[in-house]
């Protein structure tokens, strides 16, 4: 039996979180845009791109989606500690 590595690579966790957020964004219909104050309005494809890049907006979107999942108890807190955070 393969020994389980207890210490996970933080970057792999971050990648999982990014993929989770992208999967959630992909469920939003294409006629929808997100208005983000002075940053402008973004289509779902643009949001997904920002999440992939993990720029400031992308990090906010990740933060928002993970906060929601955490509120549902769907993600253990320790997983979130390795997620990318916005400044």
């Amino acid at each position: 039996m393969e020994e389980k590595n207890e210490t996970q690579n933080p970057s792999e966790d971050s990648e999982d979180m990014v993929n989770l957020v992208i999967a959630r964004l992909e469920t939003i219909p294409p006629n929808v845009e997100l208005s983000v104050g002075g940053e402008g309005s973004f289509s779902i494809d643009e949001l997904i791109e920002r999440v992939r890049k993990q720029d400031n907006l992308g990090k906010k979107i990740i933060e928002m989606q993970l906060a929601y999942l955490r509120s549902l108890g769907k993600l253990p807190t320790q997983d979130l500690q390795n997620a990318p955070t916005a400044n």
Binding site: S35, S41, Y68
Partner: protein, 204 residues
């Protein structure tokens, strides 16, 4: 009560806030509240300063783009910022519907003697249906968030305190989140946005 509002309109977010603030103005007038409406190009620094220094204004609602230290008016002109104009809000209640302004600006406004401040410590976000751009009050995706944030203004217009208005708004968010969490609800993708704005709203 004398109520002053700014509602610039020059891009998509301000277009929506312009119309949703129009509902507050109609509500205020119906209740006999006197309103100073600084709309579109009247939402500028000079006019705002002039009214705040010369009129006995009780309540101020600013809509527009923001940052931790600023709020903007028409065409993104900074109309209020830390160290520049916050003293004019002494003894007033202020609601700033703009990104991030609760983080630093709101605290300075309170230090300078305001009776209450409500704002956001993160970007204020809402979803829109591109097909509803010309009917922002009928946009079923924007409505949940904008109704909840409008509740702050609606409660202030009723004469409630800043903390009461803030709580009324949070209750509205909670009700709306419950509604969109039900098994029959469509558009459950609205839930993270509702929670985000609810938890970003602060009152000092």
């Amino acid at each position: 009560m004398l109520l002053l509002l700014t509602r610039p309109r020059y891009d998509t977010p301000t277009h929506y806030l312009f119309y949703w603030t129009g509902l507050l103005i109609a509500d205020a007038k119906k209740k006999g509240v006197k309103v100073i409406d600084l709309d579109k190009d009247k939402a500028e620094k000079k006019k705002l300063r002039s009214y705040l220094s010369k009129q006995p204004i009780d309540t101020v609602i600013l809509n527009g783009h923001g940052s931790p230290e600023t709020v903007a008016g028409e065409d993104n002109e900074i109309i209020l910022s830390t160290g520049d104009g916050t003293e004019l809000l002494k003894n007033k209640v202020i609601f700033v519907r703009a990104c991030d302004a609760g983080a630093i600006l709101g605290k300075e406004i309170m230090k300078n003697g305001a009776r209450g401040f409500i704002g956001y410590i993160q970007p204020f976000m809402f979803l829109i249906d591109k097909d509803s751009f010309n009917k922002p009050l009928e946009d079923e995706l924007a409505t949940p968030v904008l109704e909840c944030s409008n509740q702050v203004g609606a409660s202030l217009i009723k004469g409630k305190s800043a903390i009461e208005a803030h709580k009324d708004s949070l209750n509205k968010y909670a009700e709306t989140i419950d509604k969109y969490s039900s098994s029959e609800a469509t558009n459950s993708f609205l839930l993270p946005i509702l929670l985000w704005n609810m938890t970003s709203q602060v009152c000092y």
